[in-house]
């Protein structure tokens, strides 16, 4: 097949890990006879430096004209002033909103060889296989923001707002996913306190009754979920939740997999368009040193092949190659066990490409 893929390396370790993702895309193209046209764009801090804006209009246009987007990471100390007018994160939030990437899928599985890299006891991790579907374009991230100075000093506010349509479309994605997996759906909210959570709960409960009656459905408060993710992670299949809760819970869940360096994500719009990125950040402290783990990005490439290009066989091939490379012990420091020789970012990417 022919496909156009926008490549947005971003900041920090972004360019390094994306380079390995691109290498894997090229290996897949060669092995399966596809033509992937890759087009690079700017986002985040590097875009601010080059254009003054974290999300230049050309980048949005480039993404709109593509079948899928591969992104590295944005941000770094250089652009870190929270009071600045433009910040790298605005690029990320902006592209999500501009392309309507409302469903963020974050799978968490634990490769048997990496059980030793997790801070959790091995027996809790055996068989962990969950996916968080995080709503990505609504809620408190995008609600009205205010900051003012009154007679008694400053105050600020953020509005968390959700509409029925926003809840319905992301719960549908989660429900369909659960149906293709183990058939269990957990809604995480704070319905004992928040009105938006009560909206999520009533809409989801109704939707499950009407469209997903075949699923096992449960609701869980976000505080309880933060606990159970660690206590009994194997109990979860698909978790669906709002934007901010999803942000917190997925970073927490990454500890199950031993390292953030292992976890891919897909942000999907209606239709096939999607943006694929590792869930880790730009890690400026290790940028440019060949230490970054490229597997989260490479596994994001697998999700890209599956969801946006409808190439499930190719996706499975990438995932199998990653497993093989881990089995052979070709890993970066974050997931190495004592005594293991540590491989560079490039060496890991080369190994995956070679297996493909």
């Amino acid at each position: 097949m022919q496909a156009v893929i926008a490549v947005l390396p971003g900041d920090g370790i972004g360019p390094e890990v994306v380079a390995e993702g691109v290498k894997v895309l090229q290996a897949v193209a060669a092995r399966f006879g596809h033509t992937f046209t890759l087009r690079e764009g700017l986002i985040g801090g590097c875009a601010i430096d080059a254009t003054g804006e974290p999300l230049p209009a050309e980048t949005v246009a480039l993404c709109r004209a593509s079948d899928a987007i591969l992104l590295g990471a944005v941000g770094g100390p250089k652009w870190d002033d929270p009071q600045a007018r433009v910040r790298p994160e605005q690029g990320l939030l902006g592209i999500r909103k501009a392309l309507g990437l409302f469903a963020n899928l974050r799978p968490v599985t634990v490769h048997p060889r990496l059980i030793g890299a997790s801070p959790l006891r091995p027996e809790r991790l055996q068989g962990v296989d969950l996916i968080v579907v995080r709503e990505l374009t609504g809620g408190i991230y995008f609600g009205e923001k205010r900051r003012e100075r009154g007679p008694d000093g400053e105050w600020a506010s953020d509005l968390c707002l959700y509409t029925e349509a926003e809840v319905v479309r992301v719960v549908r994605v989660a429900g369909q996913l659960a149906r293709r997996r183990r058939g269990k759906l957990t809604l995480v909210d704070k319905a004992n306190v928040l009105e938006t959570s009560r909206l999520w709960r009533s809409i989801t409960t109704r939707l499950v009754r009407e469209e997903f009656a075949d699923l096992e459905f449960e609701t869980m408060l976000v505080d309880a979920c933060a606990m159970h993710l660690i206590r009994r992670p194997t109990d979860f299949d698909v978790i669906v939740t709002e934007n901010m809760f999803g942000d917190i819970l997925t970073d927490e869940a990454s500890m199950l997999a031993g390292s953030m360096g292992m976890l891919p994500s897909a942000s999907l719009a209606e239709g096939r368009l999607g943006l694929y990125e590792p869930i880790h950040g730009s890690a400026p402290d290790i940028a440019g040193q060949g230490k970054a783990n490229p597997l989260a990005t490479i596994l994001s490439v697998a999700m890209l092949l599956r969801h946006s290009l409808d190439l499930p066989e190719e996706a499975a091939c990438v995932e199998a190659a990653v497993a093989t490379v881990i089995d052979r012990g070709i890993v970066t420091a974050d997931i190495a066990t004592p005594g293991q020789v540590i491989a560079t970012t490039t060496a890991v990417g080369d190994a995956v490409a070679a297996v493909i």
Copy 2:
């Protein structure tokens, strides 16, 4: 000394664990020659059943006329309809607001004998000793809530609002605590996205510079904190954060201690008045069976003695008694290790009182 203590058992296991807390208070009174006058009040589901309201005016008056408040837990399936006009949680939120209990202190330490009860690897837990100071009467919990039906379906919103004064007073509590501990303060926020977080960050940074320059100060994003709490929990001393983040992070942190059944909390107003409660909920599934761990409540009694009654020696005596009882292996199922004989709620309380 003479003191009046309001006792609010609440629902589920609340009455059982509070009974053991009261037993310990009486043991302290006998040993140290104090007179504690205990007055019971209704809150939560039992208050709804008796009066129609989760927080009857008499309960508020009782608390106002007391030196300290000991609370069990509220809620249960009987009152669980999120659409109901009155819900047990409103009692808890209401008493916090009515009494101005703005600083919620949640210490997390790991008793060496309980390291085996945690889902985390033992080597990560050695020496964990942190305290989360959660803002308790502001933010999205108390901001304007709306739910409406428009032409395109329903929508709902919650407003998160913070004023300078709210941030300043709780950060001061945290700073003073850090000064008496290991001198490290971590502000947790989401300043890369939320305006309220940027307010928290600028005010806290200024306050630390002006009043707490002797402390080691760092800021951390809430998603990163959810990860680091598990990855390197010993790095934390005092964490200060807003209401909702504190709710999620403290439940997560409870897993470090092996069980929610071990963790006490204090909710403090200006002055000495405070409300003391275990951080666990009403656990309706095990209510009335003598299975509940009373140690979180008993450790809350220790906090009550220290903070509201200014009796540090008595507080230390309770804490030492708890450690002794755990060392002797007199524990409930949640923190027992395989092969241990499991003690009832009452037996654990009796043992602590006897040691005192």
